[in-house]
């Protein structure tokens, strides 16, 4: 089947089966993106680059890049760093694994609003969290975990951790169990099995999990509004983009912000995936079926 010549490809119906998907992606993803890119160079006033100049010379605009990264990077790192040991512990196929995974998956179903409402009620100044701490005399002062930076990071961990965990669990259980068992037979402790066998094998998976979690954390729009202080400490770049488009009706500026957002996001992805190639060159996954 793969020995066909190039000419007969066009008569191969299997090649045409991708056509609807390709047309859809070109029409709904590529074309609007190019349209937006061109639009971003056609500002309401000023020269071609004036949207970009305005973005990088207005404090409450360009600062949003830093604010977004300051929220998304730590949240993603926390999620990955907790998910790895937990997934490693749950790597064996047992009923315990199934129950634990199911419980850990529940936060995926919460949705931004339930998390926001729950955090405002639970972590609020008079919520159960504060009451428990005060009853147990652990911490007496006022607890500020909502409407600030901490609130948004916590909500990103609650909503992002289950996803990171599932991905990493999937990578770890994808490793042929014979490999760590061989290491164990040679006397490797669980830590050394992880350090020398599992970790190098899941590193590509970790890079991918980091990128996918980072994408989620990077567009923190609803939680940054509901749980943060959208005018100050958690004024993320998606808020700036939304304001430009739907409050100022400046679609040209909004497109420029979206392009900058995409560039920053892709920059991080490229760095992470590039770093993976620096550290490890070898088979991409172990024991894939």
């Amino acid at each position: 089947m793969s020995s066909q010549t190039a000419g007969s490809r066009w008569r191969d119906p299997a090649m045409w089966m991708a056509a609807p998907a390709v047309i859809f992606m070109l029409a709904v993803f590529v074309y609007p993106f190019i349209h937006g890119l061109i639009l971003s160079f056609q500002p309401l006033e000023g020269g071609m680059l004036s949207n970009y100049i305005k973005f990088f010379s207005t404090d409450n605009l360009w600062m949003t890049i830093g604010v977004t990264l300051k929220l998304a990077l730590p949240a993603t790192l926390i999620n990955i760093l907790i998910a790895v040991p937990v997934a490693y512990r749950l790597r064996h196929k047992t009923p315990y694994q199934k129950i634990a995974t199911t419980i850990l998956v529940i936060p995926i179903t919460l949705g931004t609003v339930l998390i926001a409402e729950g955090m405002l009620t639970y972590f609020g100044p008079k919520g159960w969290f504060a009451q428990i701490l005060q009853t147990l005399h652990i911490y007496e002062g006022a607890i500020r975990l909502t409407h600030n930076y901490a609130g948004v990071v916590i909500s990103l961990v609650i909503s992002g951790f289950p996803f990171a965990f599932l991905l990493i669990l999937s990578y770890i259980t994808g490793i042929d169990p014979v490999l760590p068992r061989a290491a164990a037979t040679l006397g490797a402790t669980p830590f050394n099995q992880f350090r020398y066998v599992i970790f190098p094998l899941i590193l590509p998976g970790l890079a991918m999990a980091f990128c996918l979690s980072f994408v989620q954390a990077f567009s923190v729009f609803p939680s940054a509004v509901l749980l943060g202080s959208p005018a100050g400490a958690t004024r993320v770049i998606s808020i700036a983009a939304y304001e430009a488009a739907f409050e100022n009706y400046d679609y040209s500026m909004a497109s420029a912000v979206a392009m900058i957002m995409g560039a920053v996001q892709l920059g991080v992805v490229v760095i992470v995936l590039g770093a993976r190639n620096l550290f490890y060159r070898g088979p991409v996954t172990g024991g894939k079926g």
Partner: protein, 292 residues
């Protein structure tokens, strides 16, 4: 390589657990328990508030009532919102499968120039945040008067769903023995007949799993619906967001009642999905080795 002799020469130190590794595993379990207890209590406080008469700064509310659920149903025009949600979600699931599975077949079975480029095109929407491509898309839709309409919301939500289906289904198709297709061809089946009678039945579990996952993702997709929906084309997530954003307009209890409805709806679908696809098989499959 390893003979049974060399295995038996091992002094069998396996059962001796180091104090450090015991402390470590205690720490991991403890951390997880702390996380889960707090998430559990957080859900419980929303659930409590949704059935509370009044609850201000005490351990428990001063009375219980179920009326917030019926109030929420009317206030949010939940009937209409749910109808829109069902229409959007079902259309996205059906369309993403109909368009995505054939495309996954091409990627799984054919090698051609530009295949990497095509894979990249399908991967890119998953690698940048929805709001990034949502804004140019919404801008275009406003120009074409598609924004605010049901087809507009469906098209926008299809954008991340389609690549997701393709990426989930490609490894599923790769694992099916190509000889089955060759056999069908020997008996004279054309590609589409073969697809319908051989591949689709074999792929049914994978298609079911992918549809359920798309369903859960689409119910939860906030940004794209938020950017493209009009007043009467909001899905449940977006309606909920507006109700919290306009805090004070609605009682927090009725928002919490809605949030509970949302969580239960999503949870049911996710649990069904997990019955058909083990979450550990999302990105890679491994031959099941006997655990001893």
């Amino acid at each position: 390589m390893m003979t049974s002799q060399s295995i038996s020469r091992q002094p069998a130190p396996k059962r001796r657990t180091h104090w450090a590794s015991r402390a470590w595993s205690g720490l991991v379990v403890g951390l997880m328990t702390f996380f889960l207890i707090n998430v559990g209590l957080m859900i419980a406080s929303v659930a409590t508030n949704s059935v509370a008469k009044r609850w201000l700064g005490t351990w428990l509310p001063n009375g219980w009532t179920l009326e917030w659920y019926s109030a929420a149903w009317q206030e949010f025009q939940l009937g209409d919102v749910l109808l829109v949600t069902i229409q959007v979600v079902l259309s996205v699931v059906v369309l993403s499968i109909l368009i995505g599975v054939p495309a996954a077949y091409t990627l799984a079975r054919r090698n051609f120039r530009g295949k990497k480029l095509l894979t990249g095109l399908f991967l890119l929407p998953l690698m940048i945040p929805p709001i990034t491509y949502g804004i140019p898309l919404a801008t275009l839709m406003y120009e074409l008067h598609l924004a605010g309409t049901l087809p507009g919301v469906i098209i926008a939500n299809l954008l991340p769903a389609l690549p997701f289906v393709i990426l989930v289904m490609t490894p599923f198709i790769e694992q099916i023995d190509p000889n089955l297709e060759s056999a069908a061809r020997v008996f004279g089946a054309r590609t589409f007949t073969m697809f319908r009678h051989v591949l689709v039945p074999l792929l049914a579990p994978g298609i079911l799993a992918a549809s359920l996952l798309v369903l859960v993702r689409t119910i939860a997709m906030f940004e794209l619906t938020f950017l493209t929906a009009g007043a009467d084309t909001q899905t449940l997530v977006v309606a909920l967001y507006y109700s919290v954003f306009a805090a004070g307009v609605r009682a927090s209890q009725s928002i919490d009642a809605m949030a509970m409805v949302y969580m239960i709806v999503t949870l049911i679908w996710l649990l069904i999905a997990m019955r058909f696809v083990s979450p550990t098989q999302l990105v890679s499959r491994v031959k099941e080795h006997p655990q001893n």
